[in-house]
């Protein structure tokens, strides 16, 4: 299984600002995904990070709010733009193996004040 790290592990940000979350994998992977998990809730898929092309966003998530980069097969970033308190959540990246078995990073806990 892949080892995934995320930076930062947590942050407290002011509304109206932006935060970029980094996801690093210890091996090359084809599939990378970004999720959001609000306190006590299940995970919601934000987008699939595609290497060399624009990310594929799920319904309710847009590129202007959550721009994603995927410059290579081991790294991706998610930016949460123009933040509001409603964006307070845990953001998780994951990688998918051949059978869509997913391996998750430890998450980034974001609090917007």
């Amino acid at each position: 299984s892949a080892v995934i790290s995320q930076k930062p592990s947590r942050d407290i940000c002011q509304r109206g600002t932006s935060l970029t979350i980094q996801c690093q994998v210890d091996s090359q992977v084809t599939m990378m995904f970004w999720y959001r998990q609000q306190p006590g809730q299940s995970l919601t898929l934000i987008a699939t990070a595609n290497q060399g092309s624009e990310a594929t966003y799920e319904s309710g998530f847009v590129i202007d709010k959550f721009p994603i980069s995927r410059p290579n097969l081991t790294f991706s970033t998610l930016t949460v733009s123009n933040m509001s308190p409603e964006d307070s959540s845990i953001y998780l990246c994951s990688v998918g193996q051949a059978d869509y078995e997913q391996y998750f990073g430890p998450g980034t806990r974001l609090t917007v004040t």
Partner: protein, 112 residues
């Protein structure tokens, strides 16, 4: 798209076997069943995946009846450290779709 239904929560005691059932009445022919475990403040961890009958690994067993409309995750002799949320996902391995869709999960509390 196959929808899954799980109990919201379950309680158990150390040393007991725990069985968590997931209903997926409209599972498609090509769909697989995958279970994840999530501890507090961590990302989900893949536990087991199966298509039919029984699958066993070092962590758990997965029982799938012939009609595949449900599945049961079995955790033998649970300990306090098995307290977690367990998610059942159903989807086609060849399409991201439901393989990436997490339902509500089952919150398992193991008591001493």
């Amino acid at each position: 798209l196959a929808k899954t239904t799980q109990p919201i929560s379950m309680d158990s005691y150390e040393g007991q076997e725990v069985n968590i059932t997931c209903s997926h009445n409209n599972i498609a022919t090509n769909d697989y069943i995958t279970w994840y475990q999530q501890f507090p403040s961590q990302g989900p961890r893949f536990i087991i995946q199966g298509y039919k009958t029984k699958v066993t690994n070092e962590v758990a067993s997965l029982f799938i009846p012939a009609d595949r409309k449900s599945s049961t995750l079995s955790l033998p002799r649970v300990s306090l450290s098995d307290t977690a949320v367990y998610y059942c996902l159903v989807g086609d391995k060849n399409n991201a779709g439901n393989m990436l869709t997490f339902g509500g999960g089952t919150r398992l509390m193991v008591k001493p």
